[in-house]
């Protein structure tokens, strides 16, 4: 299991890492909330062991942002706050489990195993949520701030692929190969054209584009921040931008 340890106490972080590695897991340690989110987006770890008291961005904010971005990692919260209200609010915010310090290493391992079992039992959801954007693979429905956005088959596939790979830039050749099933070196600007169609359909007031251009790399879904401006009514354009039929897709 790939584990991200988010703990600002150097000694405890070291023990957590050592113990998990002795049990055959791979562990990465960070000591602040910003770094935690960066690694969570980049590596999509199976489990995040999250301390609540952190510098820069506390554990509660990290937890909220992990869930707002629908990262699939399980989250085990470690804290010295023992009040029932703290436990309830953490679990309600999306933590999968909660351990009150001080705790035994063996108990923590048992909880990690339980979370891993739960992950294997749960079928992968057909719904991908990314902030105000929701994509349902079963119904092929896309909504932005609750309003339906009509997409062509290729636009849907492109958005789905970008969402599956959120947190990293996806190159044009990779998109050509995986979404269009074309040769990665095909001389075509079809990716740029479709990204523009998608951007227009996913416009939402003054908020930045959901699809970012990463110079020299490709395209990336913009991470949703809990500090983003309040949601505005979606101005998703239902039609009139780009091809409107599956047949029109390249």
């Amino acid at each position: 299991m790939q584990v991200l340890i988010v703990e600002d106490d150097a000694a405890l972080s070291l023990f957590l890492r050592k113990g998990l590695e002795l049990e055959g897991h791979t562990a990465v340690c960070v000591d602040n909330g910003d770094a935690a989110l960066e690694v969570a987006h980049r590596d999509s770890p199976d489990l995040i062991i999250l301390d609540l008291n952190l510098p820069r961005r506390d554990g509660v904010e990290v937890l909220q942002e992990v869930r707002a971005n629908s990262l699939n990692s399980s989250v085990l919260v470690l804290t010295g706050r023992g009040a029932v209200e703290d436990k309830i609010s953490c679990l309600d915010m999306g933590a999968d489990d909660y351990l009150l310090k001080p705790f035994s290493f063996y108990e923590m391992l048992a909880r990690c195993r339980a979370l891993a079992r739960r992950r294997h039992r749960e079928p992968t959801s057909s719904v991908v949520q990314h902030g105000i954007l929701q994509l349902d693979r079963m119904t092929r429905l896309v909504t932005l701030a609750g309003s339906e956005v009509e997409l062509t088959g290729k636009e849907f596939a492109l958005l789905d692929y970008l969402l599956q790979n959120r947190g990293r830039a996806v190159s044009r050749p990779e998109l050509l190969s995986n979404v269009w099933k074309m040769s990665p070196d095909a001389g075509t600007n079809v990716v740029d054209v479709y990204v523009n169609y998608l951007r227009r359909k996913l416009q939402n007031g003054d908020t930045p584009d959901l699809i970012e251009t990463v110079r020299g790399e490709g395209y990336r879904i913009r991470p949703i921040s809990i500090t983003d401006a309040p949601l505005k009514k979606a101005s998703a354009i239902a039609s009139g931008n780009g091809p409107s039929t599956f047949a029109g897709a390249a």
């Binding site: 023990f15 957590l16 113990g19 002795l22 010295g80 310090k101 001080p102 705790f103 290493f105």
Partner: protein
Amino acid sequence: MRSSAYPEETCYHERELLLSLSTALHDMSQPLTSVVFAIELSGLDDNDESRRMMLSSARTECNRVLEQVAHMRVICEELLQHANAAQEVA
């Protein structure tokens, strides 16, 4: 029961002290967890040097626990002095 002569700023200071006590108690949970971990991990490791390092770390973490306990004792002393003063006023 406290006398009405009990100064407002003293009440405020007491609340601050109680808050510090709660924070110190919370801060103690870090080294305490580390002590538990170090001792448990030392039993898992077959390597003698690694075991020795773990136990040495456990001792270091015990010192951190002691520092926190000493800090909490100072706060308790001060709270007790306030309580004694309040009783005299009453």
